[in-house]
């Protein structure tokens, strides 16, 4: 069973973007401040659209905001393995 862990750079990016507050980021992403707090603390994994909205708020690609720390090679067979 792969361990799914999503880390993020939101806190660092906020401070690098003119010390943007959590509320300002929340307003840009269209969520509540509590959701930004939960995402920042790694307690909530956002949906793909929300992750993109957060990345757009900083004007950078998604992978610069979120990093997947889970198993890179899950044991599930791919489509080529059936051949």
């Amino acid at each position: 069973m792969p361990s799914d862990r999503l880390s993020n750079q939101i806190r660092r990016l906020r401070f690098e973007n003119g010390e943007m507050t959590q509320q300002q980021l929340a307003d840009k992403a269209g969520v509540t401040r509590q959701t930004i707090i939960a995402i920042e603390a790694g307690k909530y994994a956002p949906s793909l659209p929300l992750a993109f909205r957060i990345a757009h708020a900083f004007g950078i690609p998604l992978e610069d905001v979120f990093q997947y720390d889970g198993d890179a090679n899950p044991s599930r067979p791919g489509p080529d393995s059936a051949r």
């Binding site: 507050t21 509540t32 509590q34 959701t35």
Partner: protein, 145 residues
């Protein structure tokens, strides 16, 4: 401490449910102590009033309520609904099975307890729903700015 719209609604709902349970319990025990002949009609009116009141309140709250929640709050809300459903089943099972063992299989229960069982289950589910929202929100609440 930041309180979201969802948490505010949960606190209000919790207060309403507790008030309903208190008023309902006091009313029920007061009525059952009165003349037994009149109790049936009064209980029916009382139950209908309670159900309609709670139903109106829930419907008013539901309309457009979820539209204002973001995806995390919606997840908390849905998870809380699941907890409330489980709580309702567990409560109903307890309230139906416990009297069987306490009173015995051959005993008799008055019919006016049936709406009380129904209302109690409704209140228990609402209570757990609100409490679950508050517990889940508190778990994720980390005020680090």
């Amino acid at each position: 401490m930041i309180v979201s719209k969802l948490e505010k609604a949960a606190w209000v709902n919790l207060a309403v449910v507790i008030a309903c349970v208190l008023i309902g319990s006091i009313g029920f025990f007061a009525l059952t102590r009165m003349n037994a002949r009149g109790v049936g009609n009064i209980i029916v009116v009382f139950v209908v009033a309670c159900v309609s009141g709670l139903g109106t309140y829930l419907m008013r709250r539901k309309r457009g309520f979820e539209a204002h929640l973001d995806e995390r709050e919606r997840l908390i809300y849905k998870r809380s609904l699941e907890w409330a459903f489980v709580a309702a089943i567990a409560f109903l099972a307890c309230i139906c099975i416990v009297p069987f063992f306490v009173l015995g299989g051959q005993n008799v229960i008055r019919v006016y307890y049936l709406p009380v069982v129904f209302l109690s289950t409704l209140f228990a589910a609402q209570f757990v729903h609100s409490a679950a929202i508050l517990v889940q929100s508190a778990r994720e609440d980390d005020d680090a700015q």
